[in-house]
Point group: D2
Chain length 344, copies 4
């Protein structure tokens, strides 16, 4: 069977998580996130974010996190703004609209929103009350095309949002990979400081499932549990999420796993670069989008699985390669060899 | 620490599930329920239900299953009917209403809906189009107060629903316990035959999380995946649900676990009966509701945890005791001894 | 053709309204409620309510007013409480649930909510966050069964709501009839003082259509126009509503019309009382519910139209008779004669 | 006071409507659209559409019509497609999203959707079930920028929609103006034949309020009244809408009024053309968008009111001029004189 670079959720979970599940299995605990492990994981997360007054909640997945956060934060006449590449716009089957809220789409060159993009949407919605009131800015870090935000960019966004009475929310389904990118200059503490809410993705970084929501704005923390429950996101055995994040937040494991994923991606990137290939976007996390002609795509497909992402011209397409905490170095090496051996 | 009879989700999962997670952990699989384990679990379920044309989907929990099913099945002007004790009415934070649909509440003596209850609701809604159109009947088996449906009751309900153009949906969060109750005369095949949809609860019967939805009515199967995704219920690592149900559906494990839970409850019930106690409802599954005075409740509380469920009169209350797949026989025996030793 | 006592919206509108429409017809005005007539009507209403800081908005009908107010006021996890007879529970096709909110139903003897009813609902919803948070109390004055609130009752409700962090909202589809009932001791100023929001019904008191919403709680006034527009309630020619309320609020017309309706109903009531008939509820506004046997219902039906409202026993039913601003005294007299001439 | 060309709803209604309201005022009628006038208007409309099996419903306004139609037609995972200029995208405060459905926006040159636009949206949503299913195409005739559809265009759209299992719905807030445009080649019968549903706008063509919904697809007609009621769109005195459309559909009045509006716009257009001005879009209905420099805009603003619609460059902007059934020829002449007298 071919090795798949299609995504970062093809395997189960890091062995330390299974070990912890085994060790705690028969300990009785309270349900619905009121267990000791959720408590412990929360404390570890809040230490990393350096925001002791933030509120932490664990849910199953990214779409669930996005729809619960946005529907809890917005009133009926308020809308969200996202880059056109944003996950809530492209791959969540209208989950946000299903809760009653429009998401405005903005084209960007690199998947990252800037104040000018947001201002553009606001400018087009001045005919009140016949047009929606924009209230929330949704960004992803790393983005859906593998790029990551820099500290100055985040500070600028945060300032703009505060000035314009907008909430700033960060989708961190791949937060580990963003923070461990070699060009990254952000910390979790920065992110807690400059956003109203964000989440730390577990599913794509070694957990069986789970995202850790962190709400920094006190006004948005109130009664949040009701929203999780109402939207079907509250697990009876919340311990399953608590245990996993407790393990991931211990001894830097979350970051080490992301670092490994990035490192494998960068080896592959370098190999493409050395051979003179171009990329759809310049990325430093665990997603790369090299551009190849169909003949070369076919050669690589013989032994490896990946998505053809976007047609560039009649001959060439960008492919998407995703590495993960589980990608073996040996496989990376085989893949790099395959690149080196590509024929025209 | 006191042993808790508060619910059936206080522990992790059956050891065979952990073993299977361990054994499959690094096998790469497709995401979103398209993995081999979900496929295998589906086949095993459809064999048990004897309904090869039913559609199976796995989701995380009961509230999620309820809200996805009901919102997928109903048009905006259609409503659901439930016993007043129904989980969707009492303990899901308005999850169904949040998708736009009213749930009509009917008082029952035993938590079980009968045609006359449904007819009563319909009779009160004849002023069309100024009143809602009832379209779905929601029942739970076992019910939220521990009772279970008999075959004749289900057949009557099914017939009534067909005659009145109503869908019949069964919440099976505790389906295993219902089917293994000593007074039960239903099979999974019966349930598949007489309902439009139901689900098999994993969370309360040995799984870490997960409910297996079975849609029998072909008209309701179409495009169901969209609804799971839109409501945030589609796990990237769907394998986690597939593996668990594959294990539970192997070698009768699902039913053996429920049988154990019931058996422990019945030992406790018998002990109360022998001492002359009365009950809030007469149950044969893993929930019992004996009525005690406060003094006796205090005595039992010294070494065991449980909920005081409902005040009966100034002196007496019903308590709720729930056993599970994980309840050790030794603890049951200790608890029975405590009952026998109760002082006035 | 038989004269109909079925409802108070069988005719067009008071002639003074048509006259005003004619006189203003070709004057150009701003759209969407920003016209001079809406402004003038607002000023007149605020004078009557003695609440200069209240906000006034005009919408087309009662269901529209109810769904806009409740969905604008509540967050997703919050619910409303209503008497079981409440219009939002019985005759609005689930309009409130369609905006995502549950309405709790409470049985009452006279259609009027008391603090004990509300406390009962709250007591049953203490398992947070697994149960909804009650946030709004919906009452109707006059009620759907013709009764009306007294000042002490309203003060008690208001006090209870404030203590329990609940909004108090009054459906005033028949507010005129309530305030002109002979047993009434409330003023519009009282209602503005003791409720967070209410509306003055025009449709059932001489207008072609229209309800005047008055929001007294400043926190609930903000950005309300967005909600009217989003729910399809903002008329391009808002002048149509402004003109009508401007006329109705001039020279006491609104109250005179209601007084006439009540007066005709009371004549009919007295005739029934004199003949020894009993009533479903004791009312002093424009709705009466006398109880008659089928034979007598048939006799009255020969020349008059009305609804048989509720079966009382095998022989007798309550009928509903509604008078209006348009009921001619001569018809009332004919109907009273018919009552006097009833044979067994 | 300056004469306003800002919109076509600045005045009341055509005098014949007031006359009919007066003549019928005290006739008792059934409520909720079950009156004789709605019946008569329906018959007249169905004769014009030559579609005896279509269903007709009357509602208050365009936003209301749009949100009721779209939410009634779509299931939760289905979305609508509209030109970027579409009213549902630009000026309805997220009314469609508030019912749970996304509207995809497509840029067009002339406000008119073509099959290629729709195909483009479909092509981007092939990752099922992670992306929405497109199900309804929304077009406006005349469009929000004054253009109108030709018969061949409508036939092509209809064919494409049928092939792709899409509903085709036409917003006819300005249907009269479209059909009376000098370049129009469509009839109401064509529109009934090639769309699943559309509506005839009354508000912008001489009525006080009201849009006549016509549903041609039998599968979409079922139980539609429930949706009108649930969304707050069912007037107790439905007669108000029936009377108006009955008058408008008598003796060609609806079309004569639109023709007058168009004729006045075309006089103004011709005057601008003769003076060498350019336009934002080439229109033949009652909206024109000439491009002027600020100096000239100021000159025209001295005696007339209108909107500056869009900035073209640093010196020039397009203005929007709307004529109506009520625009006096004398005012048109004065405005044309003002154009002729514009100084640089």
């Amino acid at each position: 069977m071919k090795y798949s670079f299609k995504n970062d959720y093809s395997e189960g979970c890091h062995p330390k998580i299974l070990e912890a599940l085994l060790n705690t299995n028969l300990v009785q605990q309270n349900g619905y996130g009121l267990d000791d492990y959720c408590q412990s994981a929360t404390e570890k997360i809040l230490k990393l974010t350096n925001s002791p007054n933030s509120a932490v909640h664990f849910v199953s997945g990214g779409t669930q996190a996005n729809l619960i956060l946005i529907s809890a934060f917005l009133r009926p006449h308020e809308s969200a703004i996202s880059a056109a590449t944003g996950h809530i716009l492209t791959n969540e089957t209208g989950a946000i609209e299903a809760t009653g809220h429009k998401v405005h789409s903005v084209e960007t060159s690199d998947g990252k929103l800037k104040p000018k993009h947001i201002q553009g949407v606001i400018d087009l919605h001045q005919n009140k009350p016949h047009q929606l009131k924009q209230k929330l800015v949704y960004i992803s870090n790393s983005t859906e095309i593998g790029t990551n935000y820099f500290k100055e960019e985040l500070i600028n966004l945060s300032k703009f949002c505060k000035e314009n009475n907008l909430y700033l929310m960060m989708d961190g389904a791949r937060m580990g990979h963003a923070l461990m990118a070699e060009n990254n200059d952000l910390t979790l503490a920065d992110i807690a400081k400059y956003t109203d809410a964000f989440y730390l993705g577990g599913t794509k970084n070694g957990a069986l499932l789970g995202e850790a929501i962190v709400i920094n704005n006190p006004a948005l923390q109130e009664e949040f549990g009701f929203h999780i429950k109402q939207k079907g996101g509250m697990l009876a055995k919340g311990r399953l999420l608590g245990i996993q994040f407790d393990v991931l937040m211990t001894d830097n494991l979350y970051f080490d796993l992301a670092k490994h994923a990035n490192s494998e991606a960068m080896k592959i990137k370098k190999t493409f670069v050395d051979k003179g290939f171009k990329f759809l976007s310049d990325t430093f996390s665990n997603q790369i989008f090299p551009i190849l002609n169909q003949n070369k795509i076919n050669q690589l497909s013989e032994n490896f699985d990946f998505y053809t992402w976007r047609k560039i011209d009649s001959e060439n397409s960008a492919i998407r390669l995703i590495t993960s905490w589980a990608t073996p170095e040996s496989v990376t090496n085989e893949f790099c060899d395959a690149i080196k051996n590509l024929k025209n």
